[in-house]
Structures are given as C-alpha cells and as structure tokens.
C-alpha cells in the first residue's frame, strides 16, 4: 500500500513553473529517493509535501488522508517528519532540548501546568525526556546530550536533526540531502542508520540526495526529476542505465557548439 501518493502536483512562483504535473508514490516500509540535477525542483517538492509551499495544483494523499494546503505543524502531527538541506538546528540549545522539540506535538502541558509543576506535567516531562534519550541513543549521540548543538561536529549535528525528526514519532521520514557535507566514514554510517530506521523502527524513508553512491546503495525505488518534471523511475540499475538520466546529469552531446 502506498503511504504517500502524489498526483498531478504543480507549483509556480511568479509565472515560473517549478514543478509540473509530478506523480509518484512511496510504499509503506520502503526506502525511496528523489533525485535530479541542481535546480530541478527537488527541495520544492519536499516543501510542498510538508506544507511549506502552497502547490498550485494536484493532490497529496498521506496515510489515506489528503494533506494538501495543510499547515506544516499539522502535517507533522499526522506523522510526516523532515530534515533540512542546510542544517536547521536550534543552535544555542542543547542536543537534548533540540530533540525535545520533536516531542512537542506528542505532548500537551500548558502554562498553568508548567508554573505549578503539576503531577501530570512532571510525568509528561519525564516521558519526553525518556523518549528523546532513546532517540539520541538510537543515533548514537546520548553521550553528548547536554552539549550545545552548534558546538558539535558537523556530522553529529546532522544526526541531531535525525533524532529530532524521530522524536516526532513519524510514519514517514523525509531526508533532504542527508549526506551533504559528510565525509566518507560518516556516509557509511549514514547508510547503516537509514537502514536501521526502516528495519528496526518500521519508518518509511523518502530522501533527496546528490551523492549517487549513497542513493544507489540504499534506495529501493528512485524517482528522477528534471525541470520539475519526472523523467524516470525505477531501481538503481534501471536509473543508472537510463539515457534520459545520464543526459540530465552529464548533459547532451552538443556537437554544434564547436
């Protein structure tokens, strides 16, 4: 069954068509990727899915419900979490506090509870703490939970973002260029982590990535877009040998130029 189904999606800014009639789906329990050359509109697709952009047309069905034109926080509450291309951590807060942001939508204490420290509030805080520590443990950062996030190494900061997304208890995790800025070792760990999230936590994963090596290794299904349009879909082998894809990435032979 498809967890996410996108039909006929279109987006334009000031007459510029960023996404055109895009269609794809992500199966529950799978690891899927969206790739395409620079400026192809991949992050725009993510922004449409998560409610940050307002698509001009189309439908997005997530977990059986339409989420189009819903506010981002509501979409997250329905079980779709994301990471950002450029790290978007809460820089001056500790690692644990960062991760706690994910639990916000799964908890409910208000100001009165906070001031009086009611039993319910304390219990909830303990639960938040406990779950977030588990998330941090899962990505291997429990030891640094009290450090200020921006003081961590870059690769660790990436993993904080992951833990934060996991703390929202998602069904679907959208990863926007998870390997950007990582070194070789970190990339290898990343591949392991992606697989563990799917296998151990049962969370479906949909990612955008430029590092083709990584994409080819983890993805079960790859969708390729260029100029906001889908040009190919399939598994790693099919994509790597698709002439349209090669052309999009390496360019056409332009004999007339010289």
């Amino acid at each position: 069954m498809a967890l996410l189904e996108v039909n006929n999606l279109a987006l334009s800014f000031a007459g510029l068509h960023v996404i055109k009639e895009l269609e794809f789906s992500v199966e529950e329990g799978s690891i899927a990727s969206l790739i395409g050359p620079n400026g192809a509109g991949k992050t725009s697709v993510f922004n449409c899915l998560t409610g940050f952009y307002r698509p001009t047309a189309g439908t997005i069905i997530f977990n059986g419900k339409s989420i189009i034109h819903k506010k981002p926080y509501k979409i997250t509450r329905q079980g779709m979490a994301r990471t950002f291309q450029n790290l978007r951590l809460f820089k001056s807060m500790t690692v644990l506090e960062n991760v706690m942001s994910g639990m916000h939508c799964r908890s409910s204490a208000g100001p009165i509870g906070a001031i009086l420290r009611t039993g319910a509030q304390q219990k909830e805080e303990a639960e938040i703490n406990e779950f977030c520590e588990r998330c941090l443990d899962f990505v291997g950062l429990l030891a640094v939970k009290d450090r200020i996030a921006s003081n961590l190494a870059y690769g660790d900061q990436r993993r904080v973002e992951w833990a934060r997304a996991l703390a929202t208890q998602p069904k679907l995790l959208l990863l926007d260029e998870p390997a950007a800025g990582l070194n070789h070792v970190e990339k290898q760990q990343l591949i392991g982590l992606i697989k563990r999230i799917r296998d151990q936590l049962g969370i479906t994963i949909f990612l955008i990535e430029h590092d083709m090596g990584l994409v080819m290794k983890v993805s079960e299904k790859i969708t390729v877009i260029d100029y906001g349009e889908k040009i190919a879909q399939g598994n790693a082998d099919e994509i790597q040998n698709n002439s349209k894809v090669i052309e999009a990435y390496l360019g056409k032979e332009e004999d007339e130029i010289v």
């Binding site: 620079n38 070789h184 430029h210 083709m212 090596g213 994409v215 080819m216 360019g251 130029i257 010289v258």
Partner: protein
C-alpha cells in the same frame, strides 16, 4: 605559450565547522577555458567565491596577474579585471536591464566607453537590447543568465569566473550560452567555468579539474577527461 593568469596554491576554506576546500591547487593560463567539475557540494562554487574575494580563505594563496590577491576585498579585485558571475545569476531584480548593465561598469568613469561596452553587450545579446528598459525580474531564466554575463562584460574582464551558467536552462538555451562563452573566449577573455553539464563543459574547455568533497581528485586536459570513466562515477555514483 601564454602566461599564467591565475595561480592557486593550497587553498583551504571553512564554513563554520565544515571544511569546504582542502588544499586546492590549480592554475589558469591566459586565453584558456578551464572547467571545474564535480557533484553538488564538492566545493566548486566555494572555490570561485574564494578567488573573487566573497569569502575569506583560511590558508593558501591566490595569485592573479602575478599579484597576491588572497586578502584583497572583492571590490578591488574586480578593478583588476577578474569578474565572477555567481551561481543563481544574482541580477538586481527590481532594476531595469540597462541599470543592471550600468552597474557592471560601476568602476568606469568614461561615459563614452560605457556606451561602447553596452552596445557591444547588446550586440552579443540582442534580446537584452529589445527589453532594455524592462524590470529584470521579469526575464526568463536564460535571459537572466545572459544579463548576468552581459553585466560582467561591462567591466571589460580579463578573467571571467562563470558559476553554472547552464543551471536550470532548457537544452537549446544551454547551447546558446555555451556559444557565447566560446565567443567571449575568442575575444580574448580567459574563462574559469564551473559546470554541471560535464560533457558540454569538457567540449569547450582546454583543461578540467574534478572536485570531490573539497579536493581535486582528477585533473587533466579536456580531451583525456572526456574519455575518463571516473567522471561518470563522480556524478552518478559507483555502479
């Protein structure tokens, strides 16, 4: 043979915690087209920004026309004829095409010369001439790229750094832009080209360098690189 115009040695830069460039060294000789290739995030744009003075490099040196320009502010480097056409064009939206071009010749005091250069730009890009008093925000992607290149020509450049001029452009436009790059080169402008479109870039270039995670991993003449299987790998990953 021609002289070395630009020489970069052991260039290192950091963005906060990210080590963006690791010991980059290469040189560009007068009259050449040199291309930097590589996947996204490999450090191509960073290299250009370091050369044009938009970002400070941590260590290493950049020599241009025999002078060390590593610590020079960007606006002074421009006056030496080294012009950077940045990624995403960065034209002045909200201003007309003519105004954009005039700003290109900001350092010039001679009005007649400005007029002459602008005519030259309009000669190369007739489409800009047609819309010269229109707000540049309403130009198409290709026209914006033309404007960005045209604007840089107003400075009468010796060395042009072009950052992904074909990005987001339809194939026939890519072709048109590349023709212009060639024409500029023939007119005597040395070009350092960062491109996504590897095949096209290598067709134009004399030399090429492939970057991966901030390092130069492959270097050679365009001809040899064209045959090199590892280029495909750099873009599409290991099979």
């Amino acid at each position: 043979m021609s002289d070395t115009l630009l020489e970069i040695e052991n260039l290192e830069t950091h963005y906060g915690k990210i080590h963006a460039l690791r010991s980059i060294s290469f040189s560009v000789r007068e009259g050449q087209i040199v291309t930097l290739l590589g996947a996204n995030g490999a450090g191509k744009s960073t290299t250009l920004k370091a050369i044009s003075g938009l970002i400070r490099s941590t260590s290493g040196s950049i020599r241009y026309l025999g002078e060390d320009i590593t610590r020079k502010p960007a606006h002074e480097i421009v006056q030496m004829g080294l012009i950077h056409v940045p990624e995403g064009r960065k034209i002045f939206k909200g201003m007309t095409i003519t105004e954009n071009l005039e700003l290109g010749s900001f350092t010039l005091d001679d009005d007649a010369e400005r007029k002459r250069r602008m005519d030259h730009v309009f000669d190369i890009f007739p489409v800009l001439h047609e819309r010269k008093s229109r707000d540049s925000a309403f130009l198409s992607g290709g026209e914006q790229q033309m404007l960005a290149i045209g604007r840089s020509m107003m400075t009468n450049p010796k060395l042009l750094l072009l950052d992904e001029p074909s990005m987001g452009l339809a194939p026939f436009l890519v072709q048109q832009i590349m023709k212009i790059v060639l024409r500029l080169n023939k007119e005597g402008v040395t070009i350092l080209l960062v491109e996504q479109n590897a095949k096209v870039a290598l067709k134009l270039a004399d030399h090429g360098y492939v970057l991966e995670t901030g390092k130069i991993v492959i270097r050679g003449s365009a001809r040899t690189l064209q045959q090199d299987e590892s280029i495909v790998k750099a873009y599409l990953g290991e099979q």
